[in-house]
Symmetry: C2
Subunit: 363 residues, 2 copies
């Protein structure tokens, strides 16, 4: 993997990643002439004991802009700069111009609850120079590179400031509120491990203490044996609709061995994860012969410098549809109680996806 | 409050509530000729340590049916029975025909994770006989009655089976997936306190142990003093956008004193809660002069027979809009991390709602 670190005219950083050497004369463009003084702040939610972040300039961010201008496409006209340069890169990562969290934050208002600067980092990960591409249709080697980038970013961000948790994720499709359709994801880096990963880590730690292995390692063995919900069973990686899916087309992707983070993956594991991911994403798009929206999040160990044998790197994908033309709305019981109600069985949804034939080794 | 308990031809229960005596000759209709053998089951989610419920028949429930047929309107044509009879009732409560949880559940499949019958209860609460009404436009006395009904149901359900937590909620608007537009809410009764109330109870218990009062009682005092986010400040009840709002138009409604459940409310507190609720709902609808969608959930103490001085009855309302024409999508950081990012300040959103004038004592 070749990398080139650049700084935008407005002070934000941009890193280009490629499978080929990158010419050092590439320059980082920006659609914005001036630096943005990002001062997001946190407020303490005393009933849930969690932080909420407030970044008021975020309302100015683009919202389904005209198709003519795509800030994530390579800059071709210097008079209309985008976020990334033209050149032979595969993946580009840059600081979000409208971050919910910032390493530069150092102000917080005085209020009736505890407040703090919203320390953290929000990055945009451009998956490809091609605006019409999609993650699933990228070549396997390109997807492998992206997995390597997620690992590199995690380590890089953890070194850059007081960051305890790094979460790469992708929102795909207008149904989940995506405003830019160029294939891309995001990385949120938090000062403290946020509620959901925290809960999963606590649960895994207890389970590990009692059983000598993590709950996901255990579940994966069960899913492989049961086989009815499997979508991809490779030598090193698997993808399946979990027996306890909370969304009809929920899929988990993981290395079979309990690797705790991206940077701990062996090359063969990374390659098989890419195959698992490509399989799932092509099945999604193939199911109804149209782009399949989803939220994909990659959970890994906290970047707290400690060992996490209980932790098992994996992705959870939550598509918003329950059938071809019906959305699954999160409402009363899901949002207010945190108790999920499913009207489809994971076994049946897995069967639907199993029947979608895909060719991950094709061009 | 007058009540009349009835049984539908398909075995489900229906209870009518009225401020006036109810004629005992009323009969309970049902659109369904046969009983439904509801056998929802739970599966254990080993990574989150929580239950998920599966009820596959729920896919058959109505989805935006033609306006001609409204199953929540009083039956006028005996050949086309609805869920409720014609008659002088104010509020009707009946068993959901497609429950996610059932007291009759006694089966669960054997799987690779623990499973259990999905014990619980799902009820539909019809707020009014008038299909064109809305909760906010009901007379204050009618809203008071509804609050009394929520208390009565909580007690009744807790006596009917092994129920630890009763959650009344309302999903309003197509934006949150509502399929029937007749004004109504739901009640979910859980065998075990579900994740979100559980988290709030644990947090409140710790806070109470340390400070001798609950976190909401403390916050309410702060909000009253700060006053900038208040929407209703009565003698016994308040409504405000909390300083730590996770949704732009999030509102909390609560008695000022830490009453732990509906049934513990004094009549003056109930009356003031009705005023607070009506104020908020009319402000919502007045803001953009159109019905304002929301999820409203009422949190109270578990029905575990124990005393809960840490617990403070209150409603949380989550509207899906962030501006007049933009929805707030829950995506990566909210859903995957449980960490909410806001692009509006509660103080500014409160100001918008403060400026909407309403007349809660009007006809």
């Amino acid at each position: 993997m070749h990398t080139l670190e650049l700084t935008k005219p407005d002070g934000r950083s941009l890193t280009l990643y490629s499978r080929r050497p990158l010419p050092s004369e590439l320059r980082a463009p920006s659609p914005f002439p001036r630096p943005l003084e990002a001062q997001p702040h946190l407020r303490w939610h005393p009933l849930r004991a969690e932080w909420v972040t407030y970044a008021t300039y975020r309302q100015d961010r683009p919202f389904l802009p005209p198709v003519a201008y795509n800030p994530l496409a390579p800059t071709v006209d210097p008079a209309a700069p985008t976020e990334v340069p033209d050149g032979d890169w595969d993946v580009a990562v840059f600081d979000n111009r409208f971050p919910s969290l910032s390493l530069g934050a150092d102000l917080a208002p005085e209020l009736i609850v505890p407040t703090a600067p919203a320390t953290g980092k929000c990055e945009v990960v451009v998956y490809s120079r091609d605006a019409t591409a999609s993650l699933g249709r990228l070549p396997l080697a390109h997807i492998e590179l992206l997995i390597e980038v997620w690992g590199e970013r995690t380590q890089r961000i953890a070194q850059a400031g007081p960051i305890e948790y790094v979460l790469p994720f992708e929102n795909r499709g207008a149904e989940v509120g995506v405003t830019l359709h160029h294939p891309h994801g995001q990385i949120y880096a938090y000062r403290n491990t946020p509620p959901v990963p925290k809960r999963m880590l606590d649960v895994a730690l207890d389970y590990y203490a009692a059983h000598g292995r993590g709950p996901l390692a255990e579940l994966i063995q069960g899913e492989i044996k049961a086989s009815v919900r499997m979508l991809y069973a490779g030598e090193h990686a698997v993808a399946f609709i979990p027996v306890c899916a909370r969304y009809p087309y929920e899929v988990w992707i993981a290395p079979i061995a309990p690797v705790d983070s991206f940077s701990a993956l062996l090359p063969v594991q990374r390659a098989d994860l890419a195959r698992a991911m490509k399989t799932v994403l092509l099945k999604y798009d193939g199911l109804w012969q149209r782009p399949f929206p989803y939220l994909m999040a990659w959970y890994q160990a906290p970047t707290d410098g400690r060992s996490h044998p209980e932790c098992h790197l994996h992705a959870e994908l939550y598509p918003p549809y329950r059938t071809r033309d019906k959305l699954k709305y999160l409402a009363g019981t899901e949002i207010a109680a945190g108790f999920f109600a499913m009207d489809a069985l994971p076994e049946n949804k897995a069967q639907e996806l199993q029947q979608v034939k895909v060719d991950i080794d094709g061009p």
